[in-house]
């Protein structure tokens, strides 16, 4: 019986690696990395490119309150406050129409208390509803599906709700009725624009339907 025997060469100790002679490594002055002024300036330029801060886009709904700024409406402050209170989120803007049309700033719903309920100096019997409708149409055209940049984010108004409150009558508008209704209809027919009108009385419904508010209801539940 023969056993496997390693060859003589294999049994040898491994060869030693050639030893590097120990000597002090002294780098030449040329080899030391010393960035020139030019290089330094390039680096600092590259670092100073400031990317614009990331601004997320937030989709928000805008509610436009169309308020008849008359003495009759002023007697129903509590109902108007209920309508305002029913707006839970998004942006709010109030448009008042009496003798003139007046628009508040567009604010977040949390700031709605900062918007006056009425313009007291203007309270009277006059109501320029058709002028106000043209103003609403222009506002919707400006804001619908537009993105506006703010300090920390971008706001996109993806839906608009127009809520009218009043008797739906007009006394002093300079605009023609047909022209105003036509302007209003064009914006109110956009896909994510909804309109509703709360009338004082059920007999006012016909006037609101003439204008083309989609949802028409009474401000109170009187029979």
């Amino acid at each position: 019986m023969s056993f496997w025997k390693p060859k003589k060469d294999e049994n040898k100790a491994p060869k030693r690696l050639p030893q590097i002679p120990e000597k002090e490594i002294v780098l030449q002055e040329e080899e030391i990395f010393t960035p020139t002024m030019e290089k330094t300036s390039q680096i600092s330029n590259a670092a100073s490119i400031t990317l614009p801060p990331y601004k997320p886009t937030i989709e928000k709904k805008l509610t436009i309150l169309l308020i008849e700024n008359t003495l009759e409406m002023a007697k129903k402050v509590s109902i108007l406050n209920n309508v305002r209170g029913s707006i839970k989120d998004g942006l709010v803007c109030s448009i008042y129409y009496g003798g003139i049309v007046w628009q508040s700033a567009i604010v977040d719903v949390t700031s709605i208390k900062d918007i006056p309920v009425f313009i007291k100096a203007e309270l009277g019997e006059e109501a320029c509803l058709y002028d106000a409708l043209i103003h609403v149409a222009s506002l919707v055209t400006q804001k619908y599906q537009r993105v506006e940049e703010e300090k920390t984010n971008k706001i996109m108004i993806n839906a608009i709700e127009i809520i009218g409150v009043g008797s739906c009558r007009d006394t002093t508008s300079s605009a023609q009725k047909d022209f105003a209704i036509n302007c209003f209809t064009k914006v109110a027919q956009k896909p994510q624009v909804l309109s509703k009108y709360y009338c004082f009385k059920e007999q006012d419904f016909i006037e609101a339907a003439q204008i083309g508010f989609r949802s028409i209801g009474a401000i109170s539940k009187n029979y």
Binding site: Q145, R146, N158, I181, T185, P191, L194, F205, I211, K221
Partner: protein
Amino acid sequence: MIINSQGFSHFTDGQNNQDFGIESERMLLILDGCSGAIYSEVGTRLFAQLFKRREEWDNVEKFEENVKATFDSIIEMMKKYYPNQEEMENLFIMQNLLFTMIACFQTQKEYIVKLFGDGYIITQNKWGAVSYMKFSYPLPPYFGYKYCENHTFKDYQFKTFTFDKTVFQKVAIATDGITPIFTGEVKGLDSYQEELPNKEPRTWTYSYSASRLSKAANKPDVKQMDKRLMEGNMAYLEMLIKGNKKSFSDDVTLAMFGGEPK
């Protein structure tokens, strides 16, 4: 054209359809039985049959008079079965004769709607905008209450609305069961919109990523539905209402003049 469909909650509860409607060339009448009453469907159908037997039943001038005469004759007919007024009120009137009445008349120049109770008047103005006039009350007033002593609505009258045909293209009337169409809560509404032949393509004024816009775009566009509703294609509307029965909890009745035939 009248479309009438049983509400899903009535179907599951084993209740009959309590709505009913009759029509002629110049009049539409829809009746919506009170859900709380046991025999509402009996009242609506009995009233409609007897009302139609009256002379000039579809004449707007004689409508209120005809309604009163029909109620009078039903009460008179049933009196002998109930020994006193209290039983008559509680066991017959309150269980059979509580229903909303909405009538729509067509003359050459105008539409006239007469309403007693709750429901919807749906209009389309000359610019094409559709409006839902909603009549809703905590306790609806019914004509039957006029035959109950000391009732709040004993002296209540019909409400009359006149729509000039030069301003309003179409007027429809509906019971409150149509609410899911009004609120856009009909399941599968989007698939119905896909079929719209005249749907305008979306044009966005601002370049924006499609994925973000899709969120808004996927919401049902109720206004397209409104226009389709007022076109009055009977087959389409029946399919929409009856095919989506689960979306309509209450009985639905929709009536309008001049709808497209089946």
